[in-house]
């Protein structure tokens, strides 16, 4: 089963526009939205939810204050500044007293305080971090998620969305197309590990170029075959050329360039992939898809690794 992820480094370069278009051109693929912190693909893929489940993807420490002797060990060992002193009312005790308090937004669930506590007053408690959905669209099944407000652990939620997509892909003998998130940290790493192919959508700006260079180092580090798309390439032709030069120097191919096209935001506003319309951007994306799609349908091997 083949998996391809679309990422960008810099945000707002057009990942979701490209992903939605590919989903429609491919017709039968499992699509996964792994930008769980700011998901947008569901806005341009008409879908209805078939299955939904809550995902318990985190654990945070909680203190049973009636067992606490106020020794201060938990605060001492916590490296995330999650434990502090706070005036609290405790069951079984008269009035309010100062006791340790664990800020669940800071707690990383590392268990240091759990093991350090001499009276076993602290336990790790599982926490639901979001919901995962499997939806039906007219171009195949679609896995997506909703991260609960201020919940920690988006990397794990991404892994859960991918697991759901992979399971479906295996059953249906299909490939997986992933719409990723900006950045290069844990969420993006969780999005691309195990993929045969990464597509980086960039834009011709100094920021886009800088962020692309960092993403290429990331995919080289994980040895995943990578190709680049320059979106809105004609906004700055010089920087586009600089990006092409930089790519060819590092042995990464630019698989296509998409022109600036006012039809793109219009299609988004209407809630459709751009490929529903005859427009310069849609034409460019179709050409790119024709070049890329064989990677997803090949029976084995895939592209050579780029480094």
């Amino acid at each position: 089963m083949k998996q391809m992820a679309i990422i960008s480094g810099k945000g707002g370069t057009g990942k979701t526009t490209v992903a939605a278009a590919f989903a429609e051109l491919a017709e039968q693929m499992i699509v996964a939205d792994c930008d769980v912190e700011a998901p947008n693909l569901h806005l341009v893929l008409a879908h209805h939810v078939k299955k939904e489940a809550e995902y318990v993807g985190n654990q945070t420490a909680r203190i049973n204050l009636s067992h606490c002797t106020h020794c201060g060990r938990c605060e001492e060992v916590c490296r995330y500044d999650a434990v502090s002193e706070k005036v609290q009312a405790v069951e079984g005790l008269q009035g309010e007293t100062v006791f340790p308090y664990i800020d669940s937004k800071r707690c990383e669930g590392c268990a240091a305080c759990v093991y350090a506590c001499p009276t076993q007053a602290i336990q790790l408690c599982p926490e639901a971090t979001g919901k995962v959905f499997l939806s039906e669209t007219n171009v195949g099944d679609f896995a997506h998620a909703e991260l609960y407000l201020a919940a920690d652990g988006s990397g794990k939620l991404v892994a859960e969305v991918r697991r759901l997509a992979r399971d479906e892909a295996r059953c249906q003998n299909k490939a997986v197309l992933i719409d990723g998130s900006p950045g290069i940290g844990c969420v993006v790493i969780s999005t691309i590990t195990g993929c045969q192919q990464v597509l980086v959508v960039t834009e011709p700006s100094q920021s886009g170029k800088h962020d692309l260079e960092r993403v290429l180092k990331l995919t080289a580090h994980f040895r995943i075959a990578t190709q680049v798309i320059i979106n809105k390439w004609d906004i700055n032709i010089e920087v586009s050329q600089e990006i092409e030069d930089a790519c060819s120097q590092s042995g990464v191919s630019v698989v296509g360039k998409i022109p600036f096209d006012p039809m793109v935001p219009k299609a988004i506003a209407l809630g459709y992939p751009i490929t529903r319309y005859e427009s310069p951007a849609a034409r460019a994306i179709r050409e790119i898809w024709a070049k890329i799609s064989p990677v997803l349908t090949e029976s084995s091997g895939g592209q050579q690794l780029s480094s």
Binding site: V44, K105, C110, A111, L147, P204, N236
Partner: protein, 291 residues
């Protein structure tokens, strides 16, 4: 005062707003720009500060010494599967380690020493009196948190009064990285764009601010004269702090990695916006004190 610039959706113009506001304030008050988007920091591309200090951010990880009896307690306690005891040997996987120190706490014989590995860096520089800080996560590393925490500590060394300004340019999304970059701010500036995607992610950012109990206002970037964002803000009772027009000229200046302040028209726009924001924060502070 501390101002956090964030957005939910990427590419809406956080850095454009943060950089140009910082430049608009710098001639009049002590201002610090801090780039918390440690995965993809871009502010320095536009500010081009003279770097005067670079420090490495390290993360501790365990090294097992000869006292080890291979009891397996460390590997059992580690929540990140960074340790494994296999046939009279302890395997350590530094890239999985979060540096929490739990293995050292549970080891009954003191066999866990801590060593450090570089995770990223913090740069400090200056441009025309504007103090500039940025955190940079090393490519291939997954943990942005320790770099963000290190940057927070550094920012606090330059801690500000209400008259001084700290501008925190936050990462996109709505994760712990955003929370840790934004917390402690007097006002969060949510930068959005008038698209379906922009509005959807603005709603997530608004929810996050309310959950955190942080005061916030909205700046609409790439304003196309539509009413999408205005209507939402009016409905929700959210202050619209200002708008930046959709303009291909701005896109071109941006694409070259230049600040907008060199241009008279945009200079005026950011100065007005900057004054509006400072007034807003002071007003909310006084109101808060009265209440």
């Amino acid at each position: 005062m501390r101002l956090a610039v964030l957005s939910g959706k990427g590419g809406t113009g956080k850095t454009t707003v943060a950089v140009n506001l910082a430049l608009s304030w710098a001639p009049y008050r002590k201002t610090t720009y801090v780039d918390y988007d440690v995965e993809e920091p871009n502010g320095f591309i536009f500010l081009r500060p003279q770097i005067r200090d670079t420090s490495t951010v390290f993360l501790p990880y365990p090294e097992i010494n000869k006292a080890c009896t291979f009891c397996g307690k460390c590997s059992e306690a580690c929540q990140y599967h960074a340790l494994a005891v296999v046939g009279g040997k302890v395997l350590v996987f530094p890239e999985l380690c979060h540096g929490c120190g739990t293995c050292g706490i549970v080891c009954p014989v003191g066999a866990v020493d801590e060593v450090e590995r570089p995770l990223g860096k913090i740069d400090e520089g200056e441009r025309d009196g504007l103090l500039c800080l940025q955190g940079v996560l090393k490519e291939g590393e997954s943990l942005a948190g320790p770099v963000i925490r290190g940057l927070h500590r550094r920012e606090k060394e330059h801690s500000s009064s209400l008259e001084e300004i700290i501008v925190a340019d936050c990462p996109p999304g709505s994760s712990c990285s955003v929370i840790h970059s934004a917390e402690g701010s007097d006002l969060a500036i949510l930068v959005t764009e008038p698209t379906l995607f922009g509005l959807h992610d603005l709603k997530i950012a608004v929810g996050l601010m309310r959950e955190m109990g942080l005061d916030f206002g909205v700046i609409q970037n790439k304003d196309d004269q539509g009413t999408l964002i205005q209507e939402y803000c009016a409905q929700e009772g959210i202050t619209l702090l200002g708008s930046i027009p959709f303009d291909l000229e701005i896109a071109k200046i941006y694409s070259r990695g230049q600040s907008l302040m060199q241009d008279r028209k945009w200079n005026d726009l950011f100065k007005t916006l900057g004054e509006r924001i400072v007034t807003e924060v002071k007003q909310r502070k006084t109101e808060g004190e009265i209440i």
